[in-house]
Symmetry: C2
Subunit: 275 residues, 2 copies
């Protein structure tokens, strides 16, 4: 079976990192991807120890990025914070540091300018990432997040950045963000071995919120197995990380949520066995 | 001043077509773009007469499209309905028939299949469009509408379809749908004289609804003047059509909404005078 990983934001309303680690062990989920808030709440060294002792792989650390800011001091602070995130990802032996690159600075309409701030921020932290052996996984986010979360909007744009930045960069492919893209098959082929993370959830019809209404895999319209197959054609054999930002699922019992995630993952396996 | 046009959906909760025609005349707005529901409520011939008598240009007819369906009968019905829309656009002497191409059929995850249904539907109606002299303006819709409104998601994808279909096709560029696209400047240049319509509204931060929370031009983050300039560099000198689907603005006095649209249009003019 393909390895499954839990992104901790999926149960963020009820569980801290300790419960997530125990829950993954209990539900037979072999990977975890912590957000930095729960990681820091536990302490980096203790988290690394508990994750290692539980035998979990770390599919990524969420998240670096958020580079654009209205002034130079704000941009410098973001770069410093990203350097700490690189250290944390290194301490966890995470497969990558997921980069949610940030939106427009408040009040700005200068989209090319914000995109330049992202490129500049990535270039600034790349030496530390290379030195630490931490892959910066650029995550294109759905275009509906362009104003306030990510001016990095497509896989093609992310790969253009990887081309420009070179070694130490890759992409995080979240089906929720890229499923609509007519260029997806071509850009997945282009990505090749640069796919550093594969995230799954589903697009609900209707979707009632731009951020907090992601669907459980299988409840929506995304051909998750098809996109996973595109990743595997490039040689990707890493985790499928389930990351749900969902008011509906946050209200449920986390153990039930993890159990359902595992069942849905197994159902996708039956639909599309590992070749 | 650049010509301004009112899309009737902007005031759909309070005005029918007659009030829209009178309102445009009263507020000094020289163009109109009716939706088919208000057009049919008045009757095509009567609408054509009233619009002509008021001296209004018709920047487009909204809307054809909605081709994908679960079965052949559904797809055939969509094609027949599009043929009637072409006749209506011809009767109005509309600059184009705006094509909102449709989403996935209910229950389907087959995005390439739905895109093929769109290409097939357009090909089926193209002879009638050519015979009537009606340009089919393919409108890429924001990727957040991909599941339920438009599998046509980017300007590049629309132009690929135009390339394949040839004479009688063009694109409708709505800044709301395309502003985020890193390929926008290149694809606008590629569009050239195929830009058949230019629509404006704004992206609000935060946006609270995926369909009905569009912003009044100037209230959001879109560089509308910059995108209009891209259109004009291709030679486009037609209407700026304001199309607001907004629960907030639907609740207001339509005359005030039209007055504000005209003021915002004039403000954009000052920001970016016609060269």
């Amino acid at each position: 079976m393909r390895p499954l990983s839990l992104n901790t934001v999926t149960v963020r309303e009820k569980w801290g990192l300790a419960e997530c680690i125990e829950g993954c062990a209990r539900q037979g989920i072999p990977g975890i991807s912590p957000w930095r808030d729960v990681l820091q709440a536990m302490g980096i060294a203790e988290a690394a120890r508990q994750i290692r002792d539980a035998g979990l792989g770390v599919s990524g650390l969420c998240r670096g990025g958020m580079f654009p800011a209205a002034d130079a001091a704000g941009r410098a602070a973001a770069i410093e914070d990203n350097r700490r995130a690189i250290e944390e990802a290194h301490a966890l032996r995470a497969a990558c540091l997921v980069m949610v690159c940030g939106g427009l600075p408040p009040g700005s309409k200068d989209l090319p300018g914000a995109r330049q701030m992202v490129a500049d921020g990535l270039a600034a932290i790349l030496p530390e990432a290379r030195a630490a052996g931490v892959t910066l996984a650029l995550e294109p986010l759905h275009p509906m997040t362009c104003a306030d979360r990510s001016v990095l909007s497509t896989l093609g744009q992310a790969l253009d950045l990887c081309d420009a930045l070179g070694e130490g960069t890759g992409v995080a492919v979240d089906v929720y963000h890229v499923w609509w893209d007519p260029e997806l098959p071509a850009q997945m082929r282009r990505a090749g071995e640069r796919i550093a993370a594969f995230h799954a959830c589903d697009w609900l019809v209707p979707t009632t919120d731009l951020v907090f209404d992601r669907g459980m895999p299988g409840d929506g319209v995304i051909d998750i197995a098809g996109i996973r197959a595109m990743a595997e054609e490039t040689g990707y054999d890493g985790f499928t990380e389930v990351e749900l930002l969902s008011r509906r699922w946050w209200a449920e019992d986390p153990d039930e949520v993890l159990r359902l995630i595992r069942l849905r993952h197994e159902a996708l396996e039956e639909l599309s066995p590992v070749p």
